[in-house]
Subunit: 421 residues, 2 copies
């Protein structure tokens, strides 16, 4: 078996951490920003140096390809994203890009024979931090293979018109044009030009660490749904309006959040995760009783039936009254569990065993570009342990040894896939 | 006794409702905005027409004074504010200005004899909607008479540097200079130049309506305190982090809001009001477990001892844990109940009886400029019934007949005060 280089991995992790460095141990590297373009240029420079051919598609996804012995074979693709959220870390996304670069560098340096062309790639705007939605360009590239209920979120025209959330006016298309990275639609990843895809990523959760493992063999991305719940009250003056006549939409939301926790926990569904991460209160003034409060609820589990039972609790809120207020629930997003390609998962597991990795089979709760790609071509993921499970923050950290192990496993899994017709 | 004019009151209410008209039945008339300046110019034009002398002080407070028979007597002052919150109503503040104008117009038109000069005035920036804090200019004018714990909120330099909350950069001082309304510090309301002050205002609550009354004789402004409570959690990914390891600051805040309601209600304090009107959640993303949540709590009651019992509940939160999160509580603001001048309240009640008003003695939960003035000179307030208790919204409404009754009572109370040495 072949080994990736710890020294090279460390150097790349350090170099890419500079593009968008916040000075506090993390980065802010919005997609297509100046910082992201610096990272992309570094990627191109290094890949050209090992003889890779660079291509860009119309969503600014960048592909670096080294040829194989069979000029007619489809590519085997590896990659992830190079953009981050605000004050994000040095591993989410970029580790998958660095690992793909490392695999190509190892193949070239050690002159490893392979039949298929091998491609390292950067997906544009996975985070959707500046231009929603998340996973935008994999959504567009894989559009015609997506389930109907997901398609609606990735209409090409809507994506082009997505507005910068900070300035409220620049469109994604303008950012795309300005970046100099908009290429040709013919260059998109497709069933015709790609055999399969691997994505290495940090776990973004504490499961591996808690189990004393360094590597996760990912079997699936969890099914999920997301609702908005809006509470309707009546605004009044905090100093003058008697308690028993109030309709306080924030108190209603607080009661409902507690109720949701109680009722969902009663269902006793193991490994379920659910989160109210967002709340918007109107008018949000300390001397006013709130009249409108919006909350989100995000629920994830492998089993569709389990999700349905939880969804019933959420939808049931409409029949109840909290602090004298009614509410409306609205489904925002729903997907069934996506299972990775069994053959590819097998190659990853064999490679992990061979490399002596301390691994565990795991599922992914977060969404990744690989998940949309899996509707189009065989796909799988490799997870690297996250310290304390932290992600989307500056404290995000993975050991360089574990990162290198992830790349080594990907390299050998790719070579296994390469041997298979 | 003398009567104010329903026709004149109606006309003034309609005219002033045009300055900042939102087209939806209300106004947005931020202090020192173009719309507020239109209202001030209308005030000046009308007051000059009846022979009043106009003065401005350094906080842009505007005074219109008609002389009395004693050239050495101090003024009797009436007034309120002309600014509004965003999408506010046509009565909050401006009714007190219009009523003061109406009193002067009646005195002049009917040549009512009086010894003291009579002044109608506009207080600058009572709402603090664009330039916090609320009651800014009465805070500055009455500064040296304020209790120590309130003084800190009205340092002159801080007021001048108060930033426009919408653009984040224009200072109050810049707005003041640009308005053309900055006058001389010598013109400020003071113990030396003013005998007492009356403020007519809408109730902003439903007590009068519920009691079938039209006029409130206000005895005091309720004591209050306001805390910020901050919950400390740990952010993590909504899809990957197991429930039992989470520290969800929003769930903590929801539990705490419910706990606060339960515990405070257990105290069984009649007529207590308390409100969580504001919540700020970080990072407020539906796929992230929140790590920091800030809430406000505003509590009001006449009895200081009752407030202390509630404050104990609020401060006690620090010793508890909600959803695995700790919290910190921080006092923002506190004041004891402010009682109006008994003699002036007596004049108002006698005048209300004489006018045949359907009145009720009441307290004010909201803060008003009169409250700061009361630390300096004798002061009192008259309330006019608010439809459904609504205020700070476009549906705010008071009957013109009730508004006129309020002005008539103020006129006769002023004349009673005028007779007293």
């Amino acid at each position: 078996m072949y080994q990736c280089s710890l020294e090279r991995m460390k150097e790349k992790l350090e170099t890419f951490a500079r593009f968008g460095d916040t000075g506090n141990g993390g980065i802010t590297r919005y997609s297509l920003s100046e910082e992201a373009i610096m990272a992309r240029n570094e990627f191109i420079k290094r890949m050209e140096a090992i003889g890779a051919v660079i291509e860009k598609d119309d969503m600014a996804n960048v592909y670096a390809t080294i040829s194989g012995s069979d000029p007619h074979a489809k590519r085997i693709v590896m990659g992830s994203h190079a953009d981050s959220v605000m004050n994000g870390g040095n591993y989410d996304g970029i580790l998958g890009v660095i690992s793909a670069m490392e695999v190509l560098e190892t193949v070239v340096t050690e002159a490893i024979p392979h039949k298929h062309p091998l491609t390292a790639m950067i997906w544009t705007n996975e985070e959707g931090a500046l231009y929603p939605p998340a996973m935008m360009s994999s959504g567009v590239v894989c559009y015609k293979f997506l389930p109907e209920n997901i398609k609606a979120n990735f209409e090409y025209e809507d994506m082009m018109n997505s507005k910068n959330v900070l300035d409220g006016k620049t469109t994604f298309e303008e950012a795309l044009m300005r970046s100099g990275f908009r290429g040709r639609i013919e260059n998109r990843l497709s069933r015709e030009n790609a055999k399969c895809m691997f994505e290495t990523h940090i776990e973004q959760g504490p499961i591996l660490e808690a189990a004393g493992k360094n590597i996760g063999i990912v079997k699936c991305v969890l099914g999920m749904f997301n609702y908005r719940i809006r509470f309707y009250g009546q605004t009044s003056h905090a100093g003058t309006f008697p308690m028993n006549k109030r309709k306080d939409a924030l108190y209603a939301a607080a009661e409902a959040i507690c109720y949701i926790h109680e009722e969902i926990d009663k269902l006793g569904i193991a490994e379920l995760v659910y989160t109210t991460g967002e709340i918007v209160c109107h008018p949000n003034i300390h001397t006013c009783v709130p009249d409108l409060v919006d909350i989100s609820i995000d629920v994830r589990h492998e089993d569709t039936e389990a999700l349905k039972r939880v969804e019933k609790v959420v939808m049931g809120l409409e029949k109840l009254s909290f602090a004298g207020c009614k509410c409306k629930t609205e489904l925002q997003w729903k997907r069934d569990t996506v299972y990775w390609d069994k053959e590819l998962v097998g190659y990853v597991e064999e490679s992990a065993k061979e490399a002596g990795a301390n691994y565990k089979c795991i599922h992914s709760g977060a969404g990744h570009d690989a998940q949309f790609v899996s509707y189009m071509i065989p796909t799988t993921m490799i997870f690297v342990k996250s310290k304390e499970g932290l992600s989307h923050c500056e404290k995000e950290y993975s050991e360089p040894e574990d990162c290198t192990m992830g790349a080594t496993i990907m390299l050998n899994a790719v070579l296994r896939a390469d041997k298979k017709e």
